[in-house]
Amino acid sequence: MARFRVNGVAQELDIEPEMPLLWALRDELGLTGTKFGCGVAACGACTVQVNGNPVRSCVTPVSAVEGTDITTIEGLAVNAAAALSPVQQAWIDHQVPQCGYCQSGMIMAVSALLTANPNPSDDEIDGAITNICRCGTYPRVRKAIRSLTAATTA
């Protein structure tokens, strides 16, 4: 049995311990907001937060997240106790997404970064946000991140 909490809800799944968290979320729990992009942790579309840390769920076996608290894009706003988290709101304000497929992972990675480091340097942003976006939303991703850190870095 794999046991962990997803967006505050306890889950108990009779699945193989080596099943990647991505497929447990998508195919067993029906949480399709987390995306499959590459399967080898190269693109970040599958990024979720495990105990607040960004994790690429496509290569993370459920055995490695036993007993943890997992947050997916569906739960981000719930944890923020608002309709949208500040990152999500910034994404709307700066009209960031295009096709949108990579944006769940992008938003999860950015919100984990800003929680851990509310005032990242450009190098720190570059180092932390390595998610691939084929639509090329990077300039707006950076602007949206900067809008959230502007108070302390402008």
């Binding site: 193989e16 995306k35 499959f36 992009g37 949208l84 295009q98 497929y101 090329g136 939303t137």
Partner: protein, 735 residues
Amino acid sequence: MKINRRRFLLGTTVVGGGLLIGYATTRPSKHSVANDTLAENGQSFLTTWLRIDPDNTVTVLVPHSEMGQGVLTSLPMMAADELDADWDLVRVEQAPATDLFANGVLVKGFAQSMGVSVPGFLDGAINKVSEIMNIQITGGSSSVRFTGENGMRVAGAAAREMLIKTAAARWEVPESELTARLSHVHHEASGRTATYGELASDAARFEPSPNPRLKEPHEFTLMGKPIPRIDIPAKVDGTAAFGMDARLPGMLYAAVKTSPVFGNKLVSVNSDVALQRRGVVRVVELDDAVAVVADNYWRAKQALAALDIQFEATANDQVSTQSIYAQFDTALQGELNEDVEEGDTPTALAGAATTIDATYRVPYLAHAAMEPMNCTVHFHDGKADVWTGTQDNLGIRGRVASISGLDENDVTMHMFYLGGGFGRRLPNTTNTIDQATRIAQQFDVPVQTIWSREEDMQQDYYRTAVTSAFRAGFDASNNLIAWENHYIGKNEPAEAAHPPYSIPNKSIAYADSPTHVPLGAWRSVAHSQHTFFLESFVDELAHKAGKNPYQFRLDMLRDKPRHTAVLKAAAERAGWERNLPEGHAMGIALQESFGSIVAQVAEVSINSDGSVRVHRVTCALDCGRSVNPDTVASQAESGIIYGLTAALYGEITIANGRVEQTNFNDYEMLRLSDSPEIDVVTIESGAALGGLGEPATPPVAAAVANAVYILTGQRVRELPLKNYRFTAAPVERVA
């Protein structure tokens, strides 16, 4: 797309036979068919693309796919503006993939863009053609300039006239005394007012005019304003559904391995190994592939990996990038097909004071959309349902029908957002759909076929590799008098290899040289290769002639005022070659594609490891008029990064008949850390609308390579740039 139940019903209850806008050329008109078959709860279709509910909401039905280009916002803006609708009361739905919503305006737009004149009385016939051809395509940067300009605006204006006519009849006042504003019709003299919702059911009894009065730009209330995109909220909270997110009761998942050598057939597979694994339901053998179907995609994928699959060996196993390039070189020495012949190029070259030769080459490229290819199909009760994101819903409906032998009207498409299109999800690139259909035919439950990233990368329809050989001649005064260009493959669009510059003698020709590598349209199609070739070679010529590359181009654009204005705007905005930091240089490039003119200036430096760093790209573009300026900017940013990714990293190579690259670790992508600043300036020339999804992609490779030449003295004649290690050896600059 949020798929609600009514949308499902829409797909199944329509009877065919109607035509597009329902104008006077057809009986029964399309909107009356829509009202008879689709309207419910007091709804009224005023054209097939506009439905008004009694609560005064206006729903715009968009016959294009949303893949991030903002079409679900820009097209409703165009209809709503002409309709004088209150934007807060406008809703959007994707038009069902049924005959009734085939897109005749698009066919007409493409015909006219190719120089074919289509008289109005043929509109009905065009619509019929669009039905027969199953046209509902999103591609060719066409949605706003054709469907929007010639379809949505006309539909909105016609509906507005029908509403005014209805109010005039109801109140017994002349139409001229009525005004439409914010989804209401007003009679100022008597103070009477009615909502569109109150008038719609009576208005629907009129025929929509085929040529209603359209607004002048100064009358626009929505067009030209940066309206937030309708699809974005769902894309930040995880609710936006892509094809891969289809979830259905009892569904199964299929993982597929196709012959890595394109076209080679399956010989054998040891299915038993897979069947013993947890969750595996069946192993399906296809002509050139094996699928494992299981109750969870990961289980299917793991079982597939455990199989020993044997494919046949053929002569194609010997094909490599090197053999293909050798084949191209041979073809260029053989028989050529004429593209452009102007003046007398052989004589001009023979008499030239100076000639310059250069051969350019670019590799195959994969689309690598973020959402790996996938398709879900359910056969039941002699019918099929299909869940997928595609650039052509009607075309895919037809494809599934033809493979399964069903009538098209028994195939229902369920539409989704596309996790990237870029040409990969166009018709005639249906290998995923074909497989998904054949796999699902063996089941009575829905089966979702998902390609791994590796399959996605190795079974693409690739942007073709091209070799392009140039020879140019100058006269004794250093004027460019002759241009000869021989390249591989017929171009789409046909003008991709035509330089915009005034050169008296031009001879452009191509050689056919097919290989077994499957080809498809890749964002900007042939412009992506040829703009790199043309704008790099023109840059070579400028340096050869001792002229500044910017001025050299300007001098040859005297009869092209729009091109001149765009080139100047880019150079001025970028501060062409002014105040550059030490070690930085600028390159410039220009191209017209899909009706828009784009110039870009790239500011570049060389990293200490000899790789290329692009700091800033300044982009000037003239698309006639901006419908949604923020979308114009975002499409330019997107096109530049797509083109820059290819210029820096993009390379699909062939060895032993198969693609060598497997995933993003060996087919690299630009990321945030190497993404340049992008500055977009638009020129509102008022010309006919141009496209936006593609035109920003072509120029960037040449702009960067031209800057690299300034920094290193090395002319880049092959991409990608990752294959070079440059050492800085600046060439002398020409002021």
